[in-house]
Symmetry: C2
Subunit: 340 residues, 2 copies
DNA sequence: CTGTTAGCGCGTTCAT
DNA sequence: ATGAACGCGCTAACAG
């Protein structure tokens, strides 16, 4: 007695429909023009009766097309990444691809593991959501020969399609908003800059805009997400030096904004009344925190969708030089950037 | 000239090591006892030289073991689900499985689509993270014959392993906390109860505990996540009837807590000073919202990890009657449950 | 229009 | 200890 009914194969269907495997295969692949109505009918019934579903394994083995796409995410707990994932997934469904999601948890050996894995499963393309990814982790990607697209971040010296935010424009808009609201000292706060282009571009646009408008004091500081003490001292120092003017902090991403908000809490400073606060990336709780936190919202879903479309274009043989799609951000104004 | 170097196959390796495929296969599967040191050496070098990696497709086809596990998530934007996902993923890595993540977005036809897909890829087991899943969507799962485990929620009349929170205990602890802090009227607020066992169990434990302690007023109401107006009226009404006493709201899950917080904002009510607030599920921003929101934190990561272990046990042929693992929650006390 | 045949890359008897 | 040959489920080339 069998443990469980073995799955029906294409041969079973062929037998049940008293025909050959080829015709069944043709039916499955939509080559309806080459099948008589009667045969189609029989095949259809056989498939239904046996609850047959073709094995993607065998199909991929034969054709070399697995219709599989790998997604590498540095940190799946990051809301930005999750939103992007939604967009990617929607695009996959629309195009008939399946997504293999790999969360590297920002660990290099996990990334190595997953790259091998994706290769083992013969994925046809890879999307890398590099948000929050450390630089060393990115280096590993360079060896892959598959169609690949980067989200949010570029890799120095590595020619690869990129989809992300128009950082220069966004940072400029954000800075101008703060200037327009009368802030006279602004601190640009980010995780360690390194060679991370998003941070560098945002910083540069901030500086340029500040200079263009002759901002009295444009400062810059870096702190890692887990350096609470350092964050405290940076913020305390900045506030003490500028509390007589209107001063504000501009935070380069959502994860850090959360930490900054916690730090300000610890220091007893209220965003809005005491100090301005503006963060990149929308936060679902932004309106609930005190007077609300002004954010620069990214079109995350669209970014994910566009990224997947781009990989597919490459899979389909597109040899265009190099695509770099930059989406505009949207400023969501809340209480944290209203002085007094 | 070939477009890109075709991947090396097991035959290539065999040729390069001047041996047969069989030995290479044995080497790959760790049957080291049956290989001479010299041959192992040659194979090892050939694999390295060709950058060979076995095709999981072919392997799965032959052995019938794909080492693939499917995960069905109702709503990937739910932080609870993401945390659980982390745990599942860690367990997968530890056990040598790969995860196929499917986000149904709470749409029935997407679920149908993904169930077929998982079956096509011959996954060996399925984990269903039912958090936020509508009842009608769950019904579809019943037909799958694969090893399957449910997270968080049970399906009526469907024998299946379940991993989740000890709802009765958790709700009891939460209720007693409110009682101890002097609240005399408590409103239990959830999404529509339906037949969702988590909601029912939490409600029942709330009622039982309230009765045992002779709480003056224990009320209950339901509202869907998108019914802002209804939420407003429920809360306004409750507050007006009880504002002379200390009154509190207990919310059955994190997504709804977010909506409740927004509603209270709209109504101009402050949690803590004006009305008590306690929510199931930890929120990363809980401490930043006003005086902070008291939450009942679930061991999400562990729940995910345990769920995957359970599926694997079934895959390995475990025929135990039925496992129901219930983890304890942890009350995280913040300002929202301190009256006056 | 339809069936027959030959692999895709791998694991697995079964001989050597 | 090692290799030759067969077949997993499917598609593609080639007959009929």
């Amino acid at each position: 007695m069998k443990r469980k009914a073995a799955r029906a194969t294409i041969s079973d269907v062929a037998k049940a429909a008293s025909t050959g495997k080829t015709s069944v295969s043709r039916y499955l692949n939509g080559e309806h023009h080459a099948l008589s109505a009667a045969l189609k009918q029989r095949i259809e019934e056989a498939i239904a009766a046996l609850d047959y579903r073709p094995s993607q394994m065998a199909r991929g083995l034969k054709r070399g097309r697995t219709r599989l796409i790998g997604l590498i995410i540095a940190d799946i707990t990051n809301p930005y990444s999750v939103d992007v994932l939604s967009g990617i997934e929607a695009a996959c469904r629309a195009q008939g691809f399946t997504l293999l999601v790999c969360n590297t948890n920002n660990e290099v050996d996990q990334e190595r593991h997953y790259l091998q894995l994706l290769s083992s499963y013969q994925v046809e393309g890879i999307v890398v959501n590099a948000v929050g990814m450390r630089e060393e982790a990115l280096s590993m990607l360079q060896q892959s020969l598959l169609p690949m697209v980067l989200i949010d971040r570029k890799i120095p010296d590595f020619a690869c399609d990129v989809v992300g935010l128009n950082n220069a424009e966004a940072a400029s808009v954000a800075t101008e908003h703060l200037l327009a609201n009368g802030y006279q000292a602004i601190l640009f706060l980010s995780e360690p800059l390194g060679l991370v282009n998003t941070r560098l571009e945002r910083l540069q646009a901030f500086k340029a805009t500040a200079q263009r408008h002759q901002l009295a004091s444009a400062e810059q500081a870096e702190a890692a997400l887990n350096e609470a003490a350092k964050l405290d001292s940076i913020l305390r120092d900045f506030y003490q030096r500028h509390q007589q003017h209107n001063c504000a902090v501009m935070v380069a991403n959502g994860s850090l904004t959360l930490q900054v908000a916690r730090a300000l809490r610890r220091l007893g400073l209220r965003w809005g009344p005491d100090i301005g606060l503006l963060g990149f990336d929308e936060l679902e709780w932004a309106e609930l925190a005190g007077v609300g936190i002004t954010t620069l919202k990214q079109p995350t879903w669209q970014i994910g969708y566009a990224a997947l479309q781009q990989v597919i274009r490459r899979i389909d043989g597109d040899e265009q030089p190099l695509a770099e799609q930059m989406f505009p951000g949207e400023l969501v104004i809340r209480g944290s950037t209203s002085p007094q």
